[in-house]
C-alpha cells in the first residue's frame, strides 16, 4: 500500500462550487479530515454535504479552491487514488442478478485483491455486516436493509485508507446501524480516515470523533460532539398541533415568548429551541391554546447535535418537507 505523508487524509482550502441556475453548493469551505477518526458531516438537505463528498472522490470538480485527498488532486482520479479511497453512495449500487458472494468476488477482482486473501476478507465483511447467511442468494431477493449492508461491505472490500460514505444508515434497521457505525469506528481505530454524511444524530453523537455542521454550502463549525452540544445545544420542544400553524402573526407572537430562542414551523409541526427554563414550555402551550391550537403530541428533547444545529441555523432537519417527523428515540415529555 502506498505511503501517505500528510497527517490528514483530505483537506479543502476556500473551496467553492456552484451549479447552473445560481445554486451555491459550497462557499469558501476550509475543511480537514484526519486519519484515525470518524468525521461526520451533518446538515439540512441542500447544505452541500454530498457535493463535498463527490469532490473528495473526484466525481465532481470544484469551481475554485484547493482540494487534496491522500496527497493527490482528486480531479486526476489516478489508479493509486482509486485504490486508496472507498466510496459508498447513498443508494445501493448493486447488480440484482448477482449473488452477494458474486458481487464481492467481482469487486475484489476489480480492486486487484489477490485470490489467496479474498475468502478471509469476504468472511470478515460478512461477519461485520451480518451477511453470513445471505451471500449465496441473489441480490434481488435481499431486503432493502440487506442490500445496504452489502453495498457498504463492497465499499470496504479493498480496505481503503479513506472511507467516504453518504447516508449509510438510511433504510437500515437499528442492528444494521450499530453494525455499520461500529465497523466505521474500528476502521478509524486502525488508522483509517472515515467521513460519513448522516442524519442519524444518535449514532453520530455516539460514534464520531468530530462533527462538521454545514448550512447553505458553508461550514459552520467542526468540533467534537460533546463540545458542540455543550456550547450550542439547548432543550428542544417538538410539537404536533391539531391544525397547521400558518398565520405569521401568531408565529411571531409565539416566538416572542420569553425563553424561546428559535422557532421553526412546517405545517402542523413546530420546533422550538428553549432557554434552560422549565416554565417556557408551559408558557408556549398556553399561548397556543389562546390562539385555538390543541397540542396533539409533545416531545421535549435534551440538548443534542440537532438542537445545536437548530440553534445555529434555525432549521430543524428532523422535520420532512411533508410535515412528518423522522423517527426519534427521544422520550416524550
Amino acid at each position: 500500500m502506498p505511503t501517505i505523508d500528510s497527517a490528514s487524509a483530505a483537506s479543502t482550502t476556500a473551496v467553492c462550487k456552484s451549479f447552473p441556475g445560481g445554486i451555491v453548493a459550497l462557499h469558501n469551505v476550509d475543511f480537514d479530515i484526519p486519519f484515525g477518526q470518524v468525521t461526520a458531516i451533518v446538515g439540512a438537505n441542500g447544505s452541500g454535504k454530498t457535493t463535498l463528498l463527490r469532490i473528495f472522490c473526484g466525481l465532481l470538480n470544484q469551481d475554485s479552491g484547493q482540494v487534496r485527498v491522500l496527497d493527490q488532486d482528486p480531479r486526476d482520479r489516478g489508479k493509486t487514488f482509486r485504490s486508496l479511497i472507498g466510496y459508498a453512495s447513498q443508494d445501493p449500487a448493486l447488480d440484482h442478478e448477482m449473488t452477494g458472494h458474486e458481487t464481492l468476488a467481482f469487486f475484489a477482482a476489480l480492486y486487484g485483491i489477490k485470490k489467496g486473501t479474498r475468502q478471509e476478507r469476504f468472511a470478515q465483511l460478512a461477519t461485520d455486516f451480518g451477511l453470513n447467511d445471505h451471500l449465496s442468494r441473489r441480490v434481488r431477493l435481499y431486503s432493502g436493509g440487506l442490500r445496504k449492508r452489502l453495498h457498504l461491505a463492497v465499499g470496504l472490500i479493498h480496505d481503503p485508507r479513506f472511507i467516504v460514505v453518504d447516508e449509510p444508515t438510511a433504510g437500515l434497521d437499528p442492528s444494521g446501524c450499530d453494525f455499520f457505525w461500529s465497523v466505521m469506528r474500528s476502521r478509524a481505530e486502525q488508522g483509517r480516515a472515515v467521513l460519513v454524511v448522516s442524519h442519524d444524530m444518535d449514532h453520530v453523537a455516539r460514534y464520531s470523533n468530530r462533527v462538521a455542521l454545514f448550512d447553505k454550502g458553508a461550514l459552520l463549525l467542526c468540533d467534537t460532539p460533546s463540545n458542540i452540544v455543550s456550547r450550542h445545544g439547548a432543550p428542544m420542544l417538538q410539537l404536533t398541533l391539531n391544525a397547521p400553524l400558518e398565520d405569521e402573526k401568531i408565529q411571531q407572537q409565539i416566538s416572542a415568548t420569553p425563553g424561546v430562542n428559535r422557532m421553526h414551523v412546517v405545517a402542523r409541526q413546530v420546533t422550538i429551541s428553549l432557554a434552560k427554563d422549565d416554565e417556557v414550555q408551559e408558557r408556549v402551550l398556553e399561548k397556543l391554546k389562546q390562539f385555538g391550537f390543541e397540542t396533539v403530541v409533545i416531545q421535549r428533547k435534551t440538548p443534542d447535535i440537532l438542537s445545536a444545529y437548530f440553534n445555529l441555523t434555525g432549521r430543524d432537519f428532523s422535520v420532512k418537507a411533508g410535515g412528518s417527523r423522522r423517527k426519534s428515540k427521544q422520550k416524550a415529555a
Binding site: R54, C57, G58, L59, L60, N61, R77, K79, T80, R82, S83, I85, Y87, S89, D91, A93, L94, D95, H96, E97, M98, E102, A105, F106, F107, A109, L110, Y111, G112, R138, V154, H158
Partner: protein, 258 residues
Amino acid sequence: MTRGNWAVLKVVFRRTWLKTLRRPVVLIFSFLQPLMWMLFFGFLFHRYALDSFGEGISYLDFLVPGVCAMTVLFGASQSGISLIFDMRSQFFSRMLSTPADARMLLGGKVIADVSRLLVQAIVVCALGWLIGARLDVAFRPLLQAILALALFAAAFCCISCLIAMTSQSQESMAVFIHVVNMPLLFTSSALVPAKQMPAWLETIAGWNPLTLAVDICRDALLFGERHSSLKGLIVLAILAVLLFVIAVRGMSRATHDR
C-alpha cells in the same frame, strides 16, 4: 496483459454472460425474429431472380447469411441497454471508481456480447439449414465468416455503449436502435445483392459495414470462400479498434459531472 487486467476482463465477461443466462427468455426470443425473417422473406421471395449470383442458389440460401449478420447487428445495437441499467443503479460508476483499467471493463463486456452474438448467429444459421437452406460449410471459410461477424459485432457493441454512456437514457437508445438498424439493413446486401440495387443504393451499400460482414459471411457459407476476404476483414478490424478506443474515452466522461 498483466494478471490483474486479465482477472478484470474475466470477471466482467463472466458477469455479462451470467446476466444473459439468468434471463434466458430474452436470449430465446432473440431467435424468433430471425426465424420469422427467414420464413417470411425466404418463402415470399423464393421466386426472386438472383441473376448476379451463382447458379442453383435459392433466395433462402442467399438470405440465411444476411439474416445471420442482421441478428448480429440488431443484438449489438442493444448492447448499451445493459449499461444504461448499470448507470441508473450506479453500478457503472462504482466499477469506474475502482482501479480497474477502463479498457478491460469495456473489453470484457464487448467480448461477452460478441461471443453471445456469435452463438446466436450460429443458431440462426442452423435454423436456416433446418428450414431448407443449402449451405456449403468448410472450416477455414467458416472461421473467416465468424471473424467478420465478430469484428462487426464488436464495432457495433462499441457504438451502442458509446451512445448509452453519452445519452444515459433508454429513450435515446431506442431511437438509436430504430433509426440506425433499419437503414443499415436495407442499404446493405443482407436482403438483396448489391449489384441488383439501383446505382445510388449500390454505392451506399458499398460503404455500408454490414455489407462487408454479409459478403464475407455469404461467400464463406455458400461458396466456401469465393473471393479473398482479407480487405474486408482489415476494414472491419480498423472500425472495431477505432470505435473501441472512442468508447473507452467516453467511459470516464460518463461518470464525471463537471
